[in-house]
Symmetry: C2
Subunit: 313 residues, 2 copies
């Protein structure tokens, strides 16, 4: 299969590497000049479960892609959420009528962006439990095992989605064809929509958040807002299960001692957050469906204010 | 007039001093042993508009008050909001059927506390624009001019309220008998209910808050919640005027460079805040009147969480 990885960060590099190893025509697309140069000169260098491997994979900037004649059967979207639109605008030329897009980004609302560039019947959504770390330009660390769950957005996409599952299986990516990937996406968004924003605005780790008396009520209110909006999109979240899953993360033996990715982006590295694609997306969808989502709205506003105060870029 | 100042911090000391100077029988009541000892040994020492003055005023702890035969015509309440109940419980013995209480605390909901100790017809409310600083035990700095607006809670209290105005006038406290002091109290609570909580949770000064793009919407939403609840208590806030008044504070030539008192309490000194008497009071009243106040609720929860994380006392 001709596969383009749009956004070759840590996770994009993992998928690119494993799909290239199993014989697909893979290209990587990224905007980071040092990363492009390193991979072009030395190949993608990975610590793959303790063994160093080098995989020579073509890599392009979006501008180079436009000038090429490259076309893709499948584009796997793995940009930062706020770079998805710009990336697809830039690589529009590789999209044919047959091109499908598999969106593996965290968060909500990405279909609104993708539908501008690809017909809905050609869109797949997925969620992955694989992990990956970017050590520097051209270097990644890929440890442990994972899974990918994916599904077509429209019924017409089922045959192609199942082809992708077969290709991923050959690449040992442990894929599952899901009958309800959107449930899993919303469930994961609830976790991010509580832990990320609250730990960031309160400047604490997950265990610290869990210890505060008001946390249970704040989390339940946010999950209820996600749930009310999800229902309008045909997803019936099991709020009790989601709340218990979130509570379990507070345990220091679970991920309690971690600072969520949004905290690391904003408080540690003064980078813009993905809040618009988590609580902000629920707020926006809530306005569309006339469902009040004040906690999501206020949390989005607070995080944007903090971005401004820290001059995040 | 026999006047007891319940809570002889900076503002209580100012009123005690000025009312004592003008010939009233004033006593101070406070819980801070070093402050009591200093005033007892050396008098209350004030930098009064640049001139050092010493005023010998009796000062007692609440426990000493109980053992004494002191009674008061007027008790001026100037404790911290969360110490009001404890103070009145402790000094119950000086309250007779004739005793009136003038509450000058910032924030909302204090009538619920005071009504436990004094009949409603004996309660006055006021708001002051005087300033005062506590430099250390027994030492205060009292600069500039100010005003006090006050009013009886019930019609029967009018005659006594006007007596108090006359006494305050003799003390040069620039009093006004107000026809709507509760409007002024709610208006001031709106200012505290936006600037205090938002600057504290965002860790910024007032100008920094004012520069953020979401601030206008956050402030308007909070003021709208205050307004909806105030309406149920017969107060029709002019939201537009309040919002413009708050906006004007962002100017560095106004109070923009200041960090609000809640910021100083919690972030600087790790002390518990008065959030329960500002946004928390609106949230509680909202529940009583069945009016949603999600921004006030969430802000109260966030501030309490931050108190927990900073081990505030």
């Amino acid at each position: 299969m001709k596969i383009a990885i749009a956004g070759a960060g840590a996770m994009g590099s993992r998928l690119g590497l494993m799909l290239h190893q199993s014989g697909n025509e893979v290209i990587l697309i990224d905007r980071w000049p040092a990363h492009i140069e390193a991979i072009r000169n030395n190949g993608l260098i990975a610590n793959f479960n303790g063994k160093e491997i080098v995989e020579a994979i073509p890599i392009y900037s979006p501008e180079e892609v436009i000038k090429s004649n490259i076309q893709a059967d499948l584009i796997i979207a793995l940009t930062k959420a706020n770079q998805l639109d710009g990336m697809f605008q830039a690589i529009n030329s590789i999209i044919t009528e047959q091109t499908h897009v598999l969106c593996l980004l965290n968060g909500l609302g990405h279909e609104d962006v993708l539908e501008k560039y690809v017909p809905k019947k050609n869109i797949l959504f997925g969620i992955t439990m694989w992990t990956a770390g970017l050590d520097g330009p051209g270097h990644v660390t890929l440890l442990g095992d994972g899974e990918i769950e994916l599904e077509n957005l429209e019924p017409e996409g089922e045959a192609f989605a199942k082809e992708v599952v077969a290709v991923f299986k050959d690449a040992k990516l442990n894929p599952t064809y899901s009958s309800n990937v959107r449930y899993s996406i919303w469930r994961k968004a609830c976790v991010n929509g509580t832990l990320n924003g609250l730990c960031t605005i309160l400047d604490c780790n997950i265990a610290g958040l869990g210890e505060q008396q008001p946390t249970n009520d704040m989390v339940r209110t946010i999950v209820a807002e996600f749930s009310a909006v999800a229902e309008k999109e045909g997803i019936e979240l099991d709020q009790e299960e989601v709340n218990q899953h979130i509570q379990a993360t507070y345990d220091p033996d679970n991920i309690g001692l971690h600072y969520p990715s949004m905290y690391q982006d904003l408080i540690k590295n003064h980078r813009l957050t993905e809040i618009d694609y988590i609580n902000g997306a629920v707020w926006k969808k809530g306005q569309k469906y006339d469902i009040p989502t004040p906690y999501c709205a206020f949390l989005t506003q607070l995080i944007h204010s903090k971005e401004g105060l820290l001059a995040a870029k």
